[in-house]
């Protein structure tokens, strides 16, 4: 056995990783907060082969043939669920979706019981989304197979941060920039930071990869002490945009636009909406990102969202499938007795 392995990354980006499972020594993927920088890079590099596959006419691998993946979504989701389902199917696994509306699944022991039930069905990986922070870890404690966090409350959404990093890497590479990591890059994340698991995972992922992260939100939607996480808080969007290389807009939930947190959607757009004029404050050619689904005309104007060469929003969706394939592949290697991982 060799002491290192390299990932099938693009030319010029071949990195060496610790041997076998030491490259990603966790059973689960619960949050970016539990990952080392090299583990993040490993999952990104492993995703490159799936980006390539997904661009072929025949988008299929038998890597996970015979394995069962359960997508247990306790909270409504369209795109993340679809992305995980496609990822599992392209890897040849049997994918089952359990869509438990939060209203019908009672809190409490029922959550643990659901976990035990899923476990008894001998899934080989379980993908979980739940509306409460920490719920996915709670379930992971009760099952024997790898667990992937597809979003837990306001805590983490690690595959979103990874796909954002992958999309950003590809966009930078196409522009001829070094995309080995994000050192020197300034990323401004604007929106409802307080309630956003996407923001938390992205702060951790982007700073781990060397980027400078600015956060922008009205005070009521900014969590306390974000500076301790390595991000700089702003409430003036123009100041937050000044010279930024990447602008990541977050969705503002409709129920928060009606007086509780901000007076109205149009006032929010006035102060925090990304318009073409505002974008001009960022670096020339600054990239625009959004995890979707977008509220066009609220946090982002259509002409910015659809700006060719600047908006990489659809590429984020594309990379989502590859990242989830990467995570499912890596996390099931022990089960599949891949050499060095069993």
């Amino acid at each position: 056995m060799t002491s290192t392995q390299s990932s099938p990354a693009h030319a010029g980006l071949v990195r060496e990783y610790p041997a076998g499972s030491l490259a990603y020594p966790h059973r689960d993927l619960l949050g970016i907060g539990q990952m080392e920088r090299h583990e993040i890079l490993f999952l990104l590099d492993e995703a490159e082969q799936w980006v390539d596959l997904n661009r072929q006419k025949t988008k299929h691998s038998d890597a996970l043939a015979g394995l069962t993946i359960i997508n247990a979504f306790f909270e409504a989701s369209t795109r993340t669920l679809l992305s995980f389902e496609i990822a599992g199917k392209r890897l040849g696994a049997d994918v089952v979706n359990m869509h438990a509306a939060t209203s019908s699944v009672k809190k409490g022991e029922t959550l643990i019981d659901t976990a035990i039930t899923l476990n008894a069905m001998r899934a080989d990986a379980i993908v979980i989304r739940h509306g409460s922070s920490g719920a996915v870890e709670l379930i992971a404690d009760k099952v024997d197979c790898p667990v992937l966090n597809a979003g837990d409350g306001q805590h983490e959404h690690p595959t979103q941060a990874l796909l954002d990093a992958l999309a950003l890497r590809h966009a930078l590479r196409e522009r001829g920039h070094s995309a080995d990591d994000f050192t020197g890059l300034t990323v401004t994340i604007c929106g409802d930071i307080l309630h956003s698991r996407v923001a938390r995972s992205n702060i951790l992922c982007l700073t781990a990869l060397g980027a400078t992260v600015r956060l922008c939100a009205p005070p009521a939607l900014m969590p306390a002490q974000v500076d301790a996480m390595g991000a700089q808080p702003f409430s003036d969007f123009d100041a937050a945009l000044e010279g930024a290389d990447v602008v990541m807009m977050l969705r503002l939930q409709t129920e928060r636009m009606e007086g509780q947190f901000i007076p109205s959607a149009r006032e929010y757009h006035h102060l925090f909406g990304l318009t073409k004029e505002r974008l001009a404050r960022a670096a020339p050619d600054a990239l625009v990102m959004h995890p979707g689904p977008m509220n066009r005309g609220v946090e982002i104007d259509s002409e910015v969202a659809d700006m060719i060469g600047r908006s990489i929003i659809t590429r984020q969706v594309e990379m989502g499938v590859a990242i989830r394939m990467s995570a499912l592949d890596v996390l099931t290697r022990k089960t599949r007795q891949v050499e060095g991982w069993a």
Partner: protein
């Protein structure tokens, strides 16, 4: 059970209100008959307390469950029980039932619900509940949002000379928060409220108590800002006292890492700076009472996502050991420890206990202050093992407990 034969405890260290003294104690007819240089008389039952402290039984102010084995383990002979029962203690007959529920070997002093159903709106029958055995009146787990209602409550309780026990947390700010706003809550993505929610409520309650001339007890003060308010009010001569539980001087919000629901409290754990402020307030006398807040919770209440889990801990068994840490750290001495755990709470309740003095009830606790043990949630005497101190070494525990001169089983 009435004490049948006199009991003499010899050879220990008496923890008296004003200092330590070698000696013993003689208990006759359920009362302390003699203290100090005591010789057993013929016919006395004799207990040798060599190497141990002879202290009054602890008086636990503000518990949520009457959990006798856990209290006896912790050297506790009396507890003031919160009105947050099912149904709430807002009716005289319920108060009467609870007041008798622990006898003979454990005494329960009910705190009457300040408002009907603890809803914070209509005053309950406080006078009738006093007649039924209530020793104070409490707002329960939450505060009374309406300042007018709170003022009328304080005025009414002052008329009846009952202490008003308040939960000081501004609900408008705290809402459904599960944590204190800060680095930890931000990382965990937990709904959080600023620590100032407590100071706001403390400021209001002190102001209203001063207007009403009422006795106010803030069951838990846990932040620097609210401690400063209490300190200032005491200096002005306001009749205000303050309490805390060991969780808030032993732990900061770092203990909630990995969504540990056994470290979920109301009010939530605070920053390290606030924890240090609590210790300083215990040292300088701003805090008068240390209580367990005993609230045993099974897995159905705790094995949940953090936001959904109930707050609270089973604290009766660890109260003494955790407070003894403060003695070993030089924050307080033993007489002060006993005032915090017994004397002051007994005074708030107006009961003839909580201090070693001739004529007081013979509620005695023998303590080995150095005895090492390990907190084990699976082995606890409480009805549930929800302790944030699980698997931690502890030092000091009760070795024998006497209620009214009669030894109770540990």
């Amino acid at each position: 059970m009435k004490q049948q034969t006199p009991l003499t405890i010899t050879g220990g260290q008496l923890v008296l209100p004003d200092g330590m003294q070698s000696g013993g104690i003689r208990l006759v007819d359920g009362l302390i008959e003699q203290l100090g240089d005591v010789d057993a008389q013929s016919g006395d039952t004799v207990v040798d307390a060599r190497g141990q402290l002879i202290a009054p039984g602890l008086v636990d102010f503000g518990v949520f469950a009457v959990d006798k084995p856990a209290f006896h383990f912790g050297g506790i002979t009396r507890a003031a029980v919160m009105p947050d029962q099912s149904p709430p203690l807002d009716y005289p007959s319920r108060v009467k039932l609870v007041a008798q529920s622990g006898k003979p070997d454990f005494w329960v002093h009910p705190l009457a619900a300040a408002t009907k159903g603890l809803a914070g709106q209509e005053l309950s029958e406080i006078g009738l509940m006093k007649a039924a055995g209530a020793r104070g009146v409490a707002t329960g787990r939450s505060w009374i949002a309406d300042s007018g209602t709170m003022l009328r409550l304080l005025q009414y309780a002052a008329m009846l000379d009952l202490v008003v026990v308040s939960h000081a947390e501004d609900a408008g700010l705290s809402g459904s928060a599960a944590a204190t706003a800060g680095d930890m809550a931000t990382r965990l993505g937990l709904p959080s409220a600023p620590a100032e929610a407590e100071a706001l409520a403390v400021a209001r309650d002190i102001t209203l108590a001063e207007m009403a001339g009422a006795r106010l007890h803030l069951r838990q003060v846990t932040t620097q800002a609210s401690i400063d308010l209490v300190r200032g009010a005491k200096a002005r001569g306001v009749s205000v006292t303050a309490g805390v539980t060991p969780a808030h001087f032993m732990l900061s919000d770092l203990a909630t890492a990995e969504f540990r629901t056994f470290a979920k409290f109301s009010p939530p754990l605070r920053s390290e700076e606030d924890r240090q402020a609590v210790i300083a307030a215990i040292a300088d006398g701003t805090i008068d009472v240390i209580a367990s807040g005993h609230d045993p919770r099974g897995p159905e209440d705790k094995r949940l996502p953090f936001s959904d889990a109930d707050p609270g801990m089973a604290g009766a068994e660890t109260l003494l050991a955790m407070t003894l840490n403060l003695v070993r750290d030089g924050v307080i001495d033993l007489p002060r420890l006993i005032r915090l755990l017994a004397g002051n709470p007994a005074a708030l309740l107006g009961v003839n206990a909580g201090a070693l003095a001739v004529g007081q009830e013979a509620d005695i606790c023998l303590i080995d202050p150095d005895k090492p043990w390990i907190v084990d949630s699976a082995q606890m005497a409480a009805t549930a093992g929800n302790t944030p101190f699980d698997r931690q070494p502890a030092q000091g525990r009760a070795t024998a407990v006497f209620k009214g001169g009669v030894q109770v089983g540990l």
